[in-house]
Amino acid sequence: MKNEEMNEGKMTVIVQTIAALLFPLALIFSFYVIMHGHLTPGGGFQGGAIGASAVVLLIVAYGVKHVEEKMSEGGFSVFESLGGLIFVVVAIFGLFLATSFLANFLVNEPIFGKIPGWGESPLNSGGILPILNIAVGMKVIGGLSAVVLILALISREGEEK
């Protein structure tokens, strides 16, 4: 029985339980790093790598067949393209609402426009930087998860043949 489970790519119950506990925590930490990218070290790419590593944890613990039922690489690819679209659309808004492409048109506006004083670090600051952070985070989560998922699927199919 144990060997059959190993052949399906699953790991033991201990690893599965720990992975199920750690997956939401890793996603929350990834969203924290992305949302606080303009205040603390980190940003879109770093938070996206952490979120993709959460998906990798699920793939390692539960096997790629089980993960494929819940999420598909096509969905990840659409998510990634959505992130790229948000990036470019925000950049073009800068061209029309302010001076140039990628101009920071949200400073001193009510949304994300506060300028921090001495010793403050409000979340509601940074202009378009939080939006671009979210866009890049979506890109990196979708892209890296899609790559790992599709490589695992291909290697699993090669074993079955």
């Binding site: 070290p41 980190g42 952490i50 993709a52 291909i154 074993e159």
Partner: protein, 88 residues
């Protein structure tokens, strides 16, 4: 005599451990152990970046180098052969 601070001791120790794990990574015949040694080198490199005051690069290195690269290489090893030099 030289005065050696904690920072320099840490840098020397880190360099020694990094070189040792890199040599281990190409020394082992077991490719799985070699990948783990590569992950250890990547984690030590992230500590190096951290004490050089580059926390952004440290987070990126820890996430990509120690987790995703290891996962992709282990998937590749599962799809091929585990030991180096096995002739079929």
């Amino acid at each position: 005599m030289f005065e050696i601070s904690l920072f320099e001791v840490l840098i020397i120790l880190l360099s020694v451990f990094m070189i040792a794990s890199a040599i281990i990574a190409i020394w082992f015949k077991d490719l799985l152990a070699s990948v783990i040694a590569l992950a250890v080198m990547s984690l030590l490199l992230s500590l190096y970046f951290y004490i050089l005051h580059a926390p952004d690069v440290a987070i990126a290195e820890a996430g990509v180098g120690a987790c995703l690269t290891t996962a992709i290489l282990i998937i590749t090893i599962k799809a091929t052969k585990r030991m180096e030099g096995d002739e079929e």
